[in-house]
């Protein structure tokens, strides 16, 4: 079943001239993990916010085409209604903390209170989300006392507890230290294994190659490619558009070592290892 359908989406922020998204179309199947890549200002974050309805409802501006999330059309819904279907986690863990709640437990409850979820169900959902993200032990802590990685996992838990069909993560680790980054990626992997549909914006292409089923590559608001990681990252025009292929791909490319399919290069450490082993 298709969870996200984007058709000829065009968008321009108010007070600007250039289209931030220019005729973007793609579809996401239930349970897929999609990596979204592209250089700065390529439209990745705008696209993410278009799926949850912040574009156009928060910013206004000029909009064309269609985004359908789990059967509802974004343009004709409100951000609150869409929040039951699609959730988003942003880069900065600090500004995602509401600031109005004194414990992690209450913080996760914020969205559920707003949506009017009954109290008993609320607690069940919060327990589940905190456990899934591995922060149940911190449930009584003040949100601002958490480390960056813990705070970001709390942000994910806050969205997961709202039980959306799709979760979008917009560079969730860009402001975290290596340990926090690892914690968050493990959490994302766990969500995906649970069957959640995940869209992950990430500039560390090694991570995308490792976790994503498919890669959506954007440049200047347009779709450059929507295919398997190995196909996308084997392309020769990555650098020309400000992207550096995963380090494993670069090495294999330099050594002219293709994957067994004879078309693409390895994109993960394991893939590169296999190829190098055979080469030896």
């Amino acid at each position: 079943m298709k969870k996200v359908m984007v058709e000829h989406l065009k968008y321009r922020y108010p007070g600007t001239e250039k289209l931030a998204l220019d005729d973007v179309s793609f579809e996401v199947e239930e349970g897929e993990l999609i990596g979204i890549v592209g250089r700065n200002l390529s439209g990745k974050s705008t696209l993410a916010q278009a799926i949850v309805g912040l574009v156009p409802h928060f910013y206004r501006g000029a909009y064309g085409g269609k985004v359908i999330v789990d059967g509802i059309e974004v343009l004709h819904s409100t951000v609150s209604d869409i929040s039951r279907k699609a959730g988003i986690v942003f880069q900065n863990p600090f500004t995602q903390v509401t600031g109005s709640k004194l414990t992690v437990y209450e913080e996760v409850a914020f969205g559920l209170e707003n949506l009017g979820v009954p109290r008993s169900e609320m607690m069940e959902r919060i327990d589940e989300a905190l456990t899934l993200l591995g922060i149940y032990d911190f449930r009584h802590a003040n949100p601002f006392d958490l480390s960056g990685g813990q705070m970001q996992r709390m942000a994910i838990a806050s969205i997961i507890a709202m039980r959306p069909e799709v979760i979008i993560l917009d560079e969730p680790t860009s402001q975290l230290d290596p340990q926090g980054t690892e914690e968050v990626f493990l959490a994302v992997q766990r969500l995906s294994r649970e069957g959640m549909t995940v869209l992950l914006i990430e500039h560390k292409l090694e991570k995308v190659a490792r976790y994503a089923d498919k890669v959506l590559w954007l440049d200047e608001g347009k779709v450059m490619a929507y295919d398997s990681p190995s196909k996308v990252f084997s392309r020769d025009d990555l650098e020309e558009h400000g992207l550096a292929a995963p380090i494993y791909t670069q090495i294999c490319k330099a050594l002219k070592l293709k994957s067994p399919d004879g078309e693409t290069y390895p994109v993960t450490l394991e893939g590169a290892y296999e190829v190098l082993k055979r080469w030896n």
């Binding site: 916010q49 949850v52 912040l54 928060f58 409100t78 951000v79 609150s80 929040s83 959730g87 988003i88 942003f90 900065n92 600090f94 500004t95 995602q96 509401t98 600031g99 109005s100 709640k101 004194l102 437990y105 209450e106 409850a109 914020f110 969205g111 559920l112 209170e113 707003n114 949506l115 009017g116 979820v117 009954p118 109290r119 609320m122 607690m123 003040n142 601002f144 006392d145 942000a155 806050s158 969205i159 709202m162």
Partner: protein, 255 residues
């Protein structure tokens, strides 16, 4: 996480009174002496407020607030006793300086009023958790979005203050002068406050986005994670206080 709240956690009956009742008390404590402008009434209401604060077991924590109040009241006493426009009856003379009876009583009225009002607010502030106050107001019908605004200040302000500490250190280490002549100190103000303001306004946008995707503007009834707190007979206390206010007003009108 440092807190900016003045709340003091104690076991007292005032801590078990609901926040709305305490707001009613403030209204009553301000209104009654206005409706009955006499020194006796002002004194009586002040004493009641002070006894309540004492029963709240927080009087020691409130001393610093009273410190400032008393300092100003002493100057009020001096200035009014000397210069009050209605001064007629001299009671004491030190050389050229004359102390007057009218000014003295006027200063006394002011003192009772100030202490009464300050104390009635202190009762609310020192014995009420700010989160409870906001939740009570929202249950009473305050828009939850405004409830959010008030509740978030308590945490966002300390966050901004720690950002302020970082920026001050950074600017000083770059050699900015923050001491010396007044003009030097004035010039330092803008470069110090500018970056904190800018980053907090950028945060406003990010926080607004994060709130929206968590149903901040959802229509329909919202629910509460916490069960309504068990306060001491809130309806009875609130109605009694309302009755006091009403009786005072009616009494005033028919007199």
């Amino acid at each position: 996480m440092k807190s900016i709240s003045l709340y003091v956690d104690r076991q007292s009956f005032l801590h078990r009174i609901d926040p709305i009742s305490k707001i009613y008390y403030i209204v009553a404590a301000i209104l009654v002496p206005i409706l009955y402008p006499s020194l006796t009434v002002a004194f009586a209401v002040m004493v009641i407020s002070l006894i309540l604060l004492f029963l709240g077991k927080v009087i020691r924590q409130t001393l610093s607030v009273y410190g400032f109040v008393f300092l100003v009241l002493i100057t009020v006493l001096i200035i009014q006793t000397l210069f009050y426009p209605g001064n007629e009856t001299p009671v004491y003379r030190i050389g050229q300086v004359v102390l007057y009876r009218e000014g003295f009583f006027y200063a006394l009225t002011i003192s009772f009023r100030v202490i009464n009002i300050v104390t009635s607010f202190l009762i609310l502030v020192f014995t009420t958790r700010s989160a409870d106050l906001v939740e009570s107001l929202v249950r009473k019908g305050l828009s939850p979005r405004f409830g959010y605004v008030i509740a978030s200040v308590f945490q966002i302000v300390p966050e901004m203050m720690s950002a302020m500490g970082r920026i001050t250190d950074a600017q000083r280490s770059r050699g900015m002068e923050t001491e010396g002549k007044l003009s030097v100190r004035m010039k330092a103000f803008l470069p110090l406050i500018g970056p904190v303001v800018l980053s907090s306004l950028l945060n406003v946008k990010e926080r607004a986005l994060a709130l929206e995707v968590r149903g901040f503007n959802a229509k329909g009834k919202k629910t509460f994670l916490n069960e309504e707190k068990n306060f001491l007979a809130p309806t009875a206390v609130q109605w009694s206080l309302l009755a006091v206010i009403l009786i005072a007003i009616i009494w005033r009108i028919i007199q």
